[in-house]
């Protein structure tokens, strides 16, 4: 596949790793905030290529993992309504709510369907005028234009049996929250290349200045990630502050203006709770009042569903990079992909799931 496989050549990736090892002198902790990057790093073993001085931590980069537990409960409540076809991305189906997940709801008779795109949900709505179609609008800024587009297209086509259950989150406020935490040990960030494709990276320049750190916009293929890591370590060694764009084939400083316009037409910024972390002000998106008739929470009256988190689950600390999954007492014992306590064990990008799948063999219980 063009523009994919060229960035996966082992020799080239390893030569960047060698350059990285020769540049790194001091100890550095770099955080990536993108589930897709977590996945690539684990799948291709890229963290094994890093020199011991460089530590890579996985931040709250997976929207599946950070969707608040009560939103899962609300989703299940909506899905259980007789007349509803509940559409969702596949990632969300096994995320545990207070007592069930969407897959269990489906097994019990709810019409829950996996879709590839929000437009598929709009099409299902058009084809089923007697039903109510609800789409679980989860994601970071990358997915917001698609969800905004789907809402606007539904309005333009006069489709009124379509609503969205919104759980959008924004990356920069999360970075602020992580850096403002007293025990934060992060020296630099890799910024998510597809988020920045949409938003651009001006907002990250401000973050880099405020926290005196380098931020490198990174892609998702092994070569992209290693080159971004190299640029990051070089900047750290040189005391440089600011944003570098190492995914320039897709990311421009100003981002994608028509996509951003669609997002601001349909959504507005709101405070949002991040599962395992808590409330981060201005870190989410909600539908604007003029699109209230597309709001599933309003249509189905589920806004007052609140929830309790598992006392045992330490996803929050994992998501902030404060502990490794293996340091959680429940890891691999009470909490496994088959019986997840928290979202980080369910999503294939969740740090706990990634560790379990790919590192379990090297980590025996008790080590």
């Amino acid at each position: 596949m063009k523009f994919v496989e060229e960035y996966r050549r082992p020799d080239e990736v390893r030569s960047v790793a060698r350059a990285l090892a020769s540049v790194a002198r001091s100890s550095w902790t770099i955080m990536e905030v993108c589930g897709g990057q977590t996945h690539a790093i684990i799948r291709f073993g890229l963290d094994q290529l890093l020199p011991p001085q460089v530590t890579l931590v996985h931040g709250p980069g997976c929207p599946v993992c950070v969707t608040p537990i009560e939103l899962i409960d609300r989703a299940i409540a909506v899905a259980r309504e007789r007349n509803v076809i509940f559409c969702s991305f596949g990632d969300m189906l096994r995320v545990p709510g207070s007592s069930a997940d969407l897959m269990a709801a489906r097994a019990a008779g709810a019409d829950v369907r996996i879709v590839y795109s929000p437009l598929d949900a709009v099409e299902i709505a058009r084809a089923n005028p007697a039903k109510e179609i609800v789409f679980f609008a989860v994601g970071f800024e990358t997915t917001a234009p698609a969800n905004a587009g789907a809402v606007q297209i539904a309005r333009a086509r006069g489709i009124t049996n379509f609503t969205v259950l919104v759980s959008h989150v924004l990356v920069p406020p999360a970075i602020r929250a992580i850096m403002d935490a007293p025990d934060s040990a992060v020296n630099a960030f890799l910024a998510a290349g597809h988020v920045c494709t949409v938003t651009g990276y001006e907002e990250y320049e401000e973050l880099a200045d405020r926290y005196h750190m380098p931020i490198v916009v990174a892609g998702f293929e092994p070569l992209d990630i290693m080159l971004a890591m190299l640029a990051c370590v070089e900047a750290l060694e040189g005391g440089e502050v600011g944003v570098q764009n190492r995914y320039a084939r897709s990311v421009r400083r100003e981002g994608n203006p028509p996509a951003m316009q669609a997002v601001s037409n349909v959504f507005e910024t709101t405070d949002r709770k991040w599962r395992g972390i808590g409330m981060i002000p201005g870190s989410g998106l909600a539908l604007r009042p003029e699109y209230a008739d597309f709001d599933a929470e309003r249509r189905f009256g589920v806004s007052d569903i609140l929830a309790e988190e598992s006392m045992v689950c330490m996803s929050g600390k994992v998501l902030q990079g404060l502990i490794r999954p293996t340091q959680c007492p429940a890891f691999g014992t009470q909490c496994t992909p088959e019986n997840p306590l928290g979202a980080t064990m369910v999503s294939s990008e969740g740090a706990c799931s990634a560790y379990y799948r790919y590192r379990r063999v090297q980590v025996r219980p008790g080590s």
């Binding site: 994919v4 590839y116 587009g149 988020v195 084939r249 897709s250």
Partner: protein, 90 residues
């Protein structure tokens, strides 16, 4: 959030078949290494047939800058050359 892959634009239309055009209805067929899929192109008004676009959940979010794509390898070459020079010098 992150799963977006590059594909080549094969055809472009103002709207999917059977639908009236609207501001966000620009659509196309994109080829991903042999698999073709209909993709919304509203956010890439500059994309033409033959261009590569990056697609996330059925929407193109950027047009691939092919010269930047090749720049990666130029940068890589510089790194490899620098490494060779420094090892030759030791």
């Amino acid at each position: 959030m992150c799963l977006a892959i590059p594909g080549r634009v094969l055809r472009i239309a103002d709207a999917p078949e059977g639908q009236t055009p609207s501001p966000l209805s620009r659509t196309g067929v994109v080829d991903f290494g042999g698999v073709e899929k209909q993709v919304n192109l509203a956010y890439v008004p500059e994309a033409h047939v033959g261009d590569y676009v990056i697609v996330h959940v059925g929407f193109a979010i950027s047009t691939m800058d092919e010269s930047e794509a090749n720049q990666v390898f130029t940068y890589l070459r510089q790194i490899e050359d620098a490494a060779m020079e420094s090892s030759a010098g030791t």
